[in-house]
């Protein structure tokens, strides 16, 4: 990151950059602890989208007029900024998608021809549905077998079991970097090294990681890394598939149409090179530009200091939550991101969430799209508080107080 543009982290100044936070819900000041579902957007992102539509909009690529040239430059600049953010070797290894789900589906669809009967695909027991179902469908289409690496009670991947499951049949290992439900940070470098020992491809689901830690895809050395823009302070409908050049080149296109072709006749079509091969149709230009500004914003505020603050809030929340009677933390991994899931006695998470909302505290409740993980813990759902650098310890105090009220009302 550009050292010259860094500023020391100041919570109040940062909060002013997020206009949505300055509002009342049900008569109290909004406290937003649902950042794992989607983060809020800084003014810079919002303004960039407005600016784009007011001054620069046209369709990208192929246009010879000024607006199309401007739109194309901004759209491709976004690719450069994203590429730099994750330290990709080449810009064309960054594919714009509409989110993590589409990125995983793209890989699972486009790799079909390379998967055959009795091949094996490994995922973990803590995956989001979007990193389960596309692989289940790939297995149905090809006759491959989906295997699940178990976790321990703390919510950590059992690497010994993974060692046992992995074999020469393993073709793909697709693992979340950070669990969206538990906050566990998985040892992805160890997992990728194991994968390499059997020449398996690796996909890392970075949906919950990209906004909370520095990502270096060359250092991680994964084959694919995917994440969503809207969890990274960018617009919804944006996301990224990073893939190593050689491997992306080996995949079939995901969708067919404009942009992704070089030459079309009624007899034959020649596909475009990376990254356009995977970006059929008019892309989400404004979204890509918004995502670029989100990343630039993170550079401005000094990302490392912001994450330090975020984890301070998380650590304080964990400590305070543990003091509440009958509250059970779900997931106690040694290496954790800023997500806390918990249950309170027999209280149903939905009831607790509704009462917290009345106190203007926004949390997520339910299974968090990880039903198999809920089955593992034998619970119907959790209450999940997930933090951003714009949160404060004072907000945690309000959460604790609201939880005490909810417990009293529902017991």
């Amino acid at each position: 990151m550009d050292e010259k543009t860094k500023n020391p982290f100041e919570l109040n100044r940062v909060r002013e950059n997020f206009p949505i936070l300055d509002q009342d819900i049900n008569g109290s000041k909004l406290i937003y602890f649902d950042n794992a579902a989607s983060t809020q957007k800084p003014s810079r992102v919002i303004k960039s989208i407005k600016q784009y539509y007011e001054s620069d909009h046209s369709n990208v690529h192929r246009g010879v007029h000024s607006l199309s040239i401007r739109a194309t430059e901004s759209y491709e600049k976004s690719r450069r900024v994203i590429s730099s953010y994750i330290n990709a070797k080449h810009e064309h290894e960054v594919i714009h998608t509409k989110g993590t789900t589409e990125a995983i589906n793209l890989v699972a669809q486009s790799i079909s021809d390379q998967i055959k009967e009795n091949d094996e695909i490994l995922i973990s027991a803590m995956e989001h549905h979007s990193n389960i179902v596309p692989w289940q469908e790939l297995c149905k289409r090809t006759g491959a077998c989906l295997k699940v690496i178990p976790i321990n009670e703390a919510g950590e991947i059992n690497l010994d079991e993974m060692n046992r499951l992995i074999s020469s049949k393993t073709r793909i290992i697709s693992i979340t970097h950070v669990s969206n439900t538990l906050g566990t940070i998985n040892p992805i470098k160890k997992i990728i090294n194991l994968a390499k020992s059997v020449d398996a491809l690796t996909l890392i689901d970075g949906a919950q990681a990209a906004a909370h830690m520095r990502i270096d895809v060359q250092d991680i050395d994964c084959d694919f890394y995917v994440f969503s823009g809207h969890k990274l302070y960018g617009p919804t409908g944006t996301g990224v598939l990073y893939g190593k050049e050689e491997i992306l080149n080996s995949l079939n296109p995901y969708q067919y149409g404009g942009e992704m072709i070089l030459k079309v006749t009624f007899d034959e079509t020649t596909y475009n090179s990376l990254p356009h091969k995977f970006e059929a149709g008019t892309p989400n230009i404004a979204g890509a530009i918004g995502l670029m500004h989100a990343i630039e914003y993170l550079k401005e505020i000094d990302f490392d200091s912001a994450i330090d603050h975020e984890m301070t809030v998380h650590d304080y929340a964990l400590k305070q939550l543990k003091l509440l009677p009958n509250l059970k933390i779900v997931g106690a991994a040694k290496d954790k991101s800023s997500i806390i899931s918990f249950t309170i006695g027999e209280l149903h998470p939905h009831d607790v969430g509704t009462i917290l909302n009345q106190k203007a505290v926004a949390v997520r409740t339910g299974h968090h799209c990880t039903m198999p993980l809920m089955d593992f813990y034998q619970i119907p759902g959790t209450i999940r508080a997930s933090f951003s650098f714009y949160n404060s310890k004072e907000e945690v105090d309000v959460l604790i107080s609201a939880l005490e009220i909810a417990t009293e009302m529902l017991s």
């Binding site: 149903h348 939905h350 009831d351 509704t354 339910g366 299974h367 809920m374 759902g381």
Partner: protein
Amino acid sequence: MDNLYQETIMNHGHNPLNFGKPKNIGHSIEQFNPLCGDKIILYSTNDDSANFMFESVSCVICKASASMMTMTINDLDFNERVSLIESIITGIKEGNINNNDLSKDLLCLNQIVNYPSRINCALLPWQTAHDLIRNHIDE
């Protein structure tokens, strides 16, 4: 808020009527609320009354609604059940349950419309009952 978690809902939610599995099961159906994972199993007894009982892993709203549903349904002639269920489903969605012949407890479900994210919790037992009758009992 007090309007939602009021005494009637809490009483039915904490001490639901007709909760459990009957010994003489006629038909049963299991349904989920995919948004939150709530689960309900609805039973009808294998006798002339075809009374409804239920088990659930669900929130207070869903459990209370199921309790009121079984309480109401079991008092009715069999042929009246479907039309009542349909009118209550509409009533929950629109917040206008006002049938004077029914238990006043049901009126508390009129508050749910003010909590859009919870409407499905209240609807699940009624929709499950509707499916049970349509799929099995009237065959």
